[in-house]
Amino acid sequence: MKYTPHTETEIKEMLADIGVSSVSELFKDIPESLRTRFFDIPKPFSEYEIIEHFQKIGKKNKTDLLLFTGGGYYDHYIPSAVDALSSRAEFYTAYTPYQPEAAQGTLQSLYEYQTAVCAITGMDAANASLYDGGTGVAEAVLMSFRLTNRNKVIIDGSLNPIYKKILHTYLDNLDFTIIEIPHQNYGTNREKIASLIDDDTASIVVQNPNFFGTIDDFQDIADMIHEKGGLLIQTVYPLSLGMLKTPGETGADITVGDGQSLGNPLSFGGPYFGFIAVKIKHIRQLPGRIVGETEDKNGKRAFVLTLQAREQHIKRHKATSNICSNQNLIALRGLFYLSLIGKKGFQVVASQNYQKAHFTLTELLKIKGVSLKNKNPFFNEFVLELPKNASETVEKMLSKGIAAGIPLSLYTPEDKNALLVSVTEKRTKEEIMKLAETMGEVLWN
């Protein structure tokens, strides 16, 4: 059976109705070069053939590499119960929980997710999740513009380059200004920031640990921007919070981050989830869904979507954002992860990441010509200066089954020999020794 959305007659009627002569005239605003001329679709497959086809493609993926790559997305252990719980149909198939009478389970799980986000970040209120860390940063910046009636944001150059790109995509064609302060020896250039904050600055965006692994305390920057009536936006690697000062303690007004490290596999780039949490006084400008606790008519604890007047289905074009969805299932995996490892486990995982990364560095520095390029304190990620081209070294090591890190030249072409290495709790001593041994061989044999 052919799928026929409209008959020829219907199409003619509709075109005539709006005074357009043909379908191609209807689309004339789209440049010719961007219009589809034909679809090159292969012949239909049977179910068996299609499974074979995709399995063949799937086998091209390398899934057994030893990962020392990070850059915002990390290879952490995921307890099996996370998969078991998140594949339950009650969670797996649930969608928009706008009817509290029919969606108490979904609402309660999201409420608990929000509570967990607040607990680890030290903030007052979180929404039910955003798409990912990068869109989280962009939403936080837009939020700061609304809260301050200003339109300039200062971003620290050591922010994840992917986040920067997303922020530019959101803002570049609007009446906003982004000022990026280049990093100073892989840390935040405080003098430069202090000299640029003015009465038009809505917010400053900083990241901890930053893209180069540096850990920092942004209390002084929080004070600086607050004095001028602006806001501090801090993006964090959530798992590091088992060890580091929380954004709440730092004085951040808005905290965002990517939740991948909490119970979600790397999966070649997604899906992940973003979290956003704020000080309570800013909650009216928080985008997206928020679940709140209330009581039903019998006085029993119940959950509902709250503060909905901010949202698109009520405020239309005046909504606080046009995000009317979230990453429920992926965010729930974050909640399952945090619940399963618990407060103590959260601290243990963070500590293991820290210890193993520092051990790895010690071993790698034993290789002739390898030095530490980023001298700042770090959590589980650091920048090395190799004696040879980093991209070529990584390529050679990939053929030996090891993803040794991210060559910084991907983002800053002049850093030819710089390699960003990350180490998680999953890496064993044997694996770390194998990394060091292989890197030595590749560099010098």
Binding site: N149, A309, I314, K315, K318
Partner: protein
């Protein structure tokens, strides 16, 4: 001191060049329990009929329009924590903001209390 009303159910009480703005008792009844008032920022300048601020009730989210052009010089900060004051006293303690009126001439476009009363009767009939 004179009070004027708009067709959108705002009132403005005028004393010299200062206008105190709120929503009418009728509007407050229509909205139901008011849960939040997004107060305008002091110093904001507005043209007549521009959005002064937003107001949320259990039933709706609505905009409040400036009855005349002017500059916001004071806001009723009590409403931040007790927006229900509007339900209790819409045309008294429930005022929202004070503006410095740009041109008293614009008041000619508004209704006096008797005209507004008549306007409400017509709406209900």
């Amino acid at each position: 001191m004179q009070t004027f009303y708009t067709k959108d159910h705002e009132w403005i009480k005028v004393e010299n060049k200062t206008g105190t703005i709120g929503i009418s008792t009728f509007a407050a009844e229509q909205l139901g329990d008011i849960t939040y008032v997004e107060l305008p920022s002091i110093g904001k300048t507005l043209k007549m009929k521009e959005v002064l601020c937003g107001i949320e009730s259990v039933k709706a989210a609505s905009d409040i329009y400036a009855p005349v052009s002017g500059k916001v010089i004071e806001v009723n900060e009590n409403l931040e924590n007790t927006p229900e004051v509007i339900n209790q006293s819409a045309e008294g303690e429930g005022w929202i903001a004070k503006i410095e009126i740009a041109s008293l001439d614009e008041l000619k476009n508004l209704m006096n209390p008797d005209q507004y009363k008549k306007y409400l009767e017509d709406l209900n009939s």
